[in-house]
């Protein structure tokens, strides 16, 4: 039983996670595509401007003596980056996420490398204040990797930038006298500081990326939840609509029949038809009440105020409240073996409601004259622990098990899992004259769970062997355990359901 319950719920968890991801993924994909498109476009544009500015400045000899080969190399390197940005932009434009983000991140790394190397080596300036500004710019690819891609991209960017900075500081001489002096004393400190800043930026990028993803996941979870509730509600409305149409039509048919034929048909038939019409009206009201009950209980299941209920009294009460229209008339043998003092924690009315449902089901689905057995006991602790539903918060409280057994048709085992759902009636019951709306056992389950218990059924589906419903509810205190063993005083009782006078 326990393993039966755990397996599907674990399955549902996994399914939920997939659904959440599926709900989030399109948004995330779109965001990264948009960002790639924007950034590659913008960076490409800026870099093109830089190349043009460089060419103009080079033409005006702003960089002093410089070979044409170097000019070509610098412009070519930067234009190559522009080209890469262009390709990244094209991929983003066409919705190709992976190449778009990879190319954008790589080309941002490359353009920083190209700019820095151009300045320090090809223009032969060595380390200058401009190089320091370029060092600050090394954080850009790192942040960009965090924005567009994942942790690995951030790490590879930060490592690339580390190597760049280290290489330049170690291998490039400074031509600026002030800087040369500075580096003589502070070279190690400067290097460490630069690298530390790069890693700090990387840490921030990774954190932001993760925060973003977890927010998205939480939103996805909420979204999926809402969608599911919405679907359930839709289904519920459709079902109600469907469930109401047949009884309404029946009622309408009675009325129309009487209206059009009252002059032709005998007095007794009129009386019978009126009787039946009023009964189907009442059935309709009962159906509406159940539907309302289901909604109310669904909404307020968490707010039950539990109090000790003497079980035997609740059962006696339920017996007196059985509806003769539903269960039919006639006497039944009832074997009742419930300790007198046994109490359960629950709302008295709700405990009664469950018992009424179970007893009337037992009567409805077994042949006239077949006995019904009700017994109750305090469950031993180890058994109780097994029985408790996963996630129930009353883990250490003792449980009372109430057993309702009939000798009717039984329930085919393959149909048992469906039995406690809303509006579920077994195929054979749909064909029979047994009154029911498919809400009774659903209510039993919701109610018993709301009171910290649960309900299950054991049946082989063999006619005559019947089925046994096990209802568990919380026991009052641990001292009940002492009572439970001794005062089990089985007695036989004949219940007869009083018929309504016709």
């Amino acid at each position: 039983m326990v393993s039966n319950e755990v397996a599907p719920s674990a399955n549902i968890d996994r399914k939920l996670r997939d659904e959440e991801l599926a709900a989030v993924r399109p948004f995330n994909t779109q965001r990264r595509l948009d960002a790639s498109r924007l950034i590659s476009g913008f960076f490409g544009f800026v870099l093109t401007g830089l190349v043009l500015a460089f060419l103009i400045l080079a033409y005006q000899n702003a960089f002093g003596v410089i070979t044409q080969l170097n000019i070509l190399a610098i412009a070519g390197g930067l234009l190559l980056c522009v080209l890469l940005y262009g390709i990244g932009w094209l991929f983003a434009q066409n919705g190709r996420l992976l190449p778009a983000t990879i190319i954008t991140v790589v080309s941002s790394n490359l353009s920083i490398i190209a700019a820095t190397l151009s300045w320090t080596i090809l223009l032969a300036h060595g380390l200058t204040p401009v190089t320091l500004i370029l060092f600050a710019a090394t954080t850009v690819p790192i942040l960009l990797a965090g924005e567009l891609s994942d942790t690995w991209a951030v790490f590879s960017s930060v490592l690339t930038m580390n190597v760049l900075v280290l290489g330049l500081i170690v291998f490039t001489p400074s031509q600026d006298p002030a800087l040369t002096q500075f580096f003589q004393h502070q070279r190690v400190l400067f290097t460490l500081l630069t690298i530390a800043i790069q890693w700090a930026v990387a840490a921030i990028a990774v954190t932001m990326n993760r925060n973003y993803l977890s927010t998205m996941r939480a939103l996805g979870q909420a979204y999926v939840q809402v969608q599911r509730l919405d679907g359930l509600k839709d289904q519920f409305i459709t079902n109600i609509n469907h469930e109401l149409r047949t009884p309404v039509m029946t009622l309408q048919a009675y009325i129309e029949y009487l209206r059009l034929t009252r002059e032709e048909i005998p007095e007794e038939e009129i009386a019978e038809m009126l009787d039946r019409a009023s009964r189907s009206g009442m059935n309709l009201v009962a159906l509406l009440t159940s539907i309302l009950d289901v909604r109310r209980i669904d909404e307020h299941a968490g707010e039950f105020e539990l109090e000790p209920v003497v079980l035997l009294e609740a059962i006696e009460q339920s017996l007196s409240l059985l509806d003769p229209r539903e269960v039919g008339q006639g006497a039944r043998q009832l074997h009742l073996s419930v300790p007198h003092a046994l109490r359960v924690m629950g709302e008295p009315v709700r405990v009664q409601q469950i018992m009424i449902n179970l007893i009337s089901n037992a009567i409805k689905y077994s042949d006239a004259g077949m006995p019904i057995e009700i017994s109750a006991r305090v469950m031993p602790k180890h058994e109780a622990r097994q029985r408790l539903r996963r996630g129930a918060d009353h883990s250490d409280q003792p449980l009372v098990e109430i057993r309702v057994r009939d000798y009717g048709l039984g329930i085919p085992p393959d149909q048992i899992p469906l039995l406690f759902n809303r509006f579920v009636r077994l195929p054979r019951d749909l064909a029979s004259t047994v009154i029911g709306n498919g809400l009774g056992l659903y209510l039993c389950r919701v109610l018993s769970r709301a009171m910290g218990g649960d309900i299950r059924v054991v049946s082989q589906g063999i006619p005559g062997e019947g089925s046994t419903f096990y209802l568990t509810l919380l026991a009052v205190t641990s001292d009940e355990i002492n009572h439970a063993g001794d005062i089990t005083n089985p007695r036989m009782k004949v219940i007869s359901v009083a018929g309504k006078p016709h």
């Binding site: 149409r245 029946t250 048919a253």
Partner: protein, 185 residues
């Protein structure tokens, strides 16, 4: 050859009946019922109702007998319905969809699949309101797809109409076979 033509006409008829207008509360239907059919039941038509709600089945049978002057036979599930068909050979069948065992669509398909029963007017009467279900019903081969709740009068009118149309269809069929020319309307 004969069967083929018959089938084609049935199909044509079905699609036009199913999609052209709402079957309930239609003025034309009432005209049809109150005008010339209901008042002249020369020989009562036999109607077979297949409905799993026994209470509804009972009152509908009573009402259709009195109001529509039909000879009504009831069956409370699909298989019984199919068996009853071969016993009573109804002029029209009213079929619920959600039934244990053989459901309404399956029953309709079974009847349409057999050449000896294919021409019987079939009416689906159901609580299933969704368009896709309506489509499934008509696609299965029903002549009409009626939604519960519907009054016995309207149901009687719909039955008459379904029978009338299928009779006209048969006449038309005979004529076509007789003079193998384009029929004149």
């Amino acid at each position: 050859m004969k069967e083929q033509t018959l089938k084609r006409h049935c199909d044509h008829d079905r699609s036009s009946v199913g999609s052209s207008r709402s079957p309930t509360n239609s003025f034309a239907l009432r005209q049809l019922t109150e005008g010339h059919i209901m008042t002249t039941p020369s020989e009562p038509y036999t109607v077979l109702i297949v409905e799993d709600n026994v209470e509804l089945l009972d009152i509908l049978s009573r009402a259709l007998r009195r109001i529509g002057h039909f000879n009504v036979v009831g069956a409370s599930d699909g298989v019984t319905g199919l068996e009853q068909y071969y016993v009573v050979h109804p002029n029209c069948m009213v079929i619920d969809v959600k039934m244990p065992g053989l459901d309404g669509y399956q029953l309709v398909r079974a009847l349409r699949g057999d050449p000896t029963t294919a021409a019987t007017p079939l009416i689906i009467l159901t609580a299933m309101t969704q368009d896709k279900e309506r489509f499934a019903g008509l696609a299965a081969g029903a002549d009409l797809y009626l939604l519960k709740p519907i009054t016995p009068q309207d149901l009687a009118a719909a039955i008459h109409r379904a029978i009338l149309i299928s009779e006209q269809e048969r006449q038309h069929q005979l004529q076509t076979l007789a003079d193998d020319e384009t029929p004149s309307y």
